[in-house]
């Protein structure tokens, strides 16, 4: 098996259609949603964008390489901490902060995953589960920066904590949602580029069969490491965005059960396609707001996610992003068939 060189990405006709769909979605997100939705939705959507980026990274790890991280929210927490620290400490432009945060988070996430990488995937999953618990404890000791000095940037006696800064062009909630949406698009392109070029093909080979990938001369550890680095880096981007979106960060938003829920929505959305990340972000951030809108108990969300994971894993492993259009197509065909059955019958009766 010879791998085409990096950079030779073939563009097919369906790509044109996809690009149109993406453009349409962007137009809806940038202009239609802020126009029709009330302002409370803008913060929710911005958070959904942050979690979509995180889910994108986790989805690549799960779907492309077959590695599962059960502690991705812990990495997100690290990213949010670094982002918040930089935003308080420096006056660097927001995009620069995002890039630095992404690099640092990427490195940290990779180092943490390193020892488990050479063992089976189960070990990585379990060590990341423990990481989720450990980072929670670490950050509840250090706390999130609240504008103070020192390395930790936290002063426990602050009475009115200042908000984490946002980009000057996106200070309002609507502005920040648009900003986050554009960043999300860029991250999707980064992910797409990876999936379509050499690393993507290497991952596909590793997922098919590790021995044959090894026989084909693929450096398995290297590409697994790459996937881990990419996932952590994307999560770092999500964290830096989340810092600005939240204004103030609390450790309570990054608990162990949040990590598990994130994995749940990534599996439900479908890890084998990048679209799954959109569904995951929607499930993780928008659905709770909808439940709240209907005044339903928030515990229902956990049950929903639990049932969703079991359902997806047993019957539709490709997730909602793939399954839903199929179901809709089937439904459409069914309706069409029904219509065809009914219409001639009527015609017959009339004649």
């Amino acid at each position: 098996m010879r791998l085409p060189a990096l950079g030779t990405i073939r563009v097919s006709r369906t790509d044109g259609i996809r690009a149109l769909v993406v453009l349409g979605l962007m137009a809806i997100g940038l202009f239609l949603l802020p126009a029709v939705l009330t302002v409370d939705w803008m913060g929710v959507l911005a958070a959904a964008a942050c979690y979509t980026i995180t889910a994108l990274g986790l989805g690549i790890l799960v779907g492309r390489v077959g590695l599962v991280s059960m502690g991705q929210v812990a990495i997100l927490e690290i990213g949010a901490w670094i982002g918040a620290r930089l935003l308080f400490a420096t006056s660097l432009p927001y995009p620069v902060v995002i890039v630095i945060t992404a690099i640092l988070t990427g490195v940290i996430g990779t180092i943490i995953g390193l020892p488990a990488l050479r063992l089976s995937g189960l070990y990585l999953a379990l060590i990341t589960l423990m990481l989720a618990g450990a980072v929670t404890i670490l950050l509840s000791v250090t706390n999130f920066p609240n504008g103070a000095g020192g390395f930790l940037g936290y002063d426990s006696s602050t009475t009115i904590p200042p908000s984490i800064r946002r980009p000057s062009i996106a200070d309002s909630d609507t502005g920040f949602w648009r900003y986050a949406l554009v960043v999300t698009l860029i991250m999707f392109l980064v992910a797409l580029w990876h999936v379509r070029s050499k690393p993507g093909r290497a991952w596909a080979a590793i997922r098919q069969s590790e021995p044959s990938a090894m026989a084909a001369g693929i450096n398995i550890t290297f590409y697994k490491l790459w996937a881990l680095l990419l996932a952590s880096t994307l999560t770092g981007v999500g964290g830096a965005l989340l810092a600005g979106s939240s204004g103030q960060l609390y450790q309570t938003a990054f608990s162990t059960d949040q990590s598990i829920q994130l994995l749940a929505v990534v599996l439900m959305g479908g890890a084998y396609t990048l679209w799954g990340a959109l569904v995951a972000g929607f499930l993780f951030s928008v659905v709770p707001h909808i439940l709240d809108l209907w005044h339903l108990n928030s515990s229902l969300l956990l049950i929903l996610f639990g049932v969703g994971v079991l359902q997806v894993l047993t019957t539709a492993p490709q997730g909602i992003a793939v399954q839903f259009p199929k179901d809709m197509a089937n439904l459409g065909r069914l309706i069409w068939r029904g219509v065809r059955l009914v219409v001639p019958a009527r015609g017959g009766a009339g004649a």
Binding site: G66, L67, V68, M70, P115, A116, R118, L119, S120, G121, L122, Y123, A125, L126, I127, L129, M130, L131, A132, G133, A134, I137, L138, V141, E210, S255, T256, D257, I260, Q261, L263, A264, L267, N297, S299, L300, L301, L302, I303, L304, F305, G306, V307, G308, V309, L310, L313, T314, T315, P317
Partner: protein, 299 residues
């Protein structure tokens, strides 16, 4: 620096909690070796059982013994049902998928339990076990019988399970399954029956550890579902998901380190990181020493 007399009580609490970690860890390892399912709903099932028994005893007025039995019965049934319903469709899938599916079950139980037993109005619940109030002292430390039971049950279960695996036909069948399912099936091992036994046994262990933890830790959904689970999984992980005896030692070790870090003011606040740190050290040790293990699929 705490003195030796000051340290003693922490050793007692550490050993008792460690005993339960070992108990849960053993359940996780046995189930994993037999069925290939790393059950991360282990804590959630025990948690739900413990809440159920609290409800039956404190709200419905059941006698305590019957309530405790109901908790174990619930865990056994829940564990077994899960195994029977979701075992077959996932049998051919990657161990990671099987483990992730159990997380779905854990979320359902966590959601249902925090819905039924909400914290509204500052509600707190406590389930005393009669042995709580019987104390004796060892050196400088006060010990109550629940703590003794926790440690004793932990050790006993590990020994019993180890003996079962080694000396009975069922145990041999379980070990055969752990080694190679297909070959075992061909050789006439009744796969489904053996698996069912493993699920039932895991249910018993999860129910008992849930009850003990509801007393030792408290009736607190998230803590019992994930935080305690992390300690038990760490114990199993350090034992490389294989050795029962290793799980016991690791479980006790985690309990001890966690509790004994408390009185040292420098590290006191980080003491709950013990399972992660120990598991990480364990993993590094495994990868360094066990070159043969690296890349090899376990089970």
């Amino acid at each position: 620096m705490p003195s030796w007399t000051q340290l003693q009580p922490f050793i007692v609490t550490g050993l008792s909690l460690g005993g339960v970690y070992a108990l849960s860890g053993t359940g996780i390892v046995v189930l994993y070796r037999t069925t290939g399912v790393l059950n991360l709903a282990f804590g959630a099932i025990g948690m739900f059982g413990a809440f159920l028994s609290w409800q039956l005893i404190h709200e419905e007025g059941w006698p305590q013994g019957l309530g405790f039995l109901a908790a174990v019965a619930f865990s056994v049934v829940a564990m077994w049902l899960y195994g029977m319903v979701f075992g077959p469709p996932l049998a051919q899938r990657d161990p990671l998928v099987k483990a992730s599916a159990t997380l779905g079950f854990a979320l359902i139980l966590l959601g249902a339990s925090s819905w039924i037993w909400s914290a509204a109005g500052g509600a707190t619940r406590f389930q005393p076990i009669p042995t709580d109030t019987h104390h004796f002292s060892v050196g400088e430390a006060m010990v109550n019988w629940t703590q003794v039971i926790a440690l004793a049950v932990g050790v006993l279960v590990v020994v019993l399970t180890g003996a079962l695996l080694r000396f009975t036909r069922l145990g041999t069948a379980m070990r055969a399954l752990a080694n190679d399912r297909e070959v075992s099936a061909v050789l006439g091992v009744p796969v489904r029956r053996v698996e069912a036994v493993a699920w039932l046994w895991a249910g018993v262990l999860s129910g008992v550890s849930g009850l003990l933890l509801s007393d030792l830790v408290g009736l607190d959904q998230v803590t019992l579902t994930f935080i305690v689970l992390i300690s038990s999984v760490a114990a199993a992980l350090i034992a490389r998901l294989r050795s029962i005896l290793g799980t016991l030692v690791a479980g006790l070790g985690i309990g001890l380190v966690d509790a004994c870090a408390q009185p040292f003011s420098g590290i006191s606040r980080y003491h709950d990181m013990a399972p992660f740190v120990l598991a990480l050290v364990g993993l590094l040790f495994v990868t360094r020493k066990g070159g043969a293990l690296a890349g090899r699929r376990i089970v």
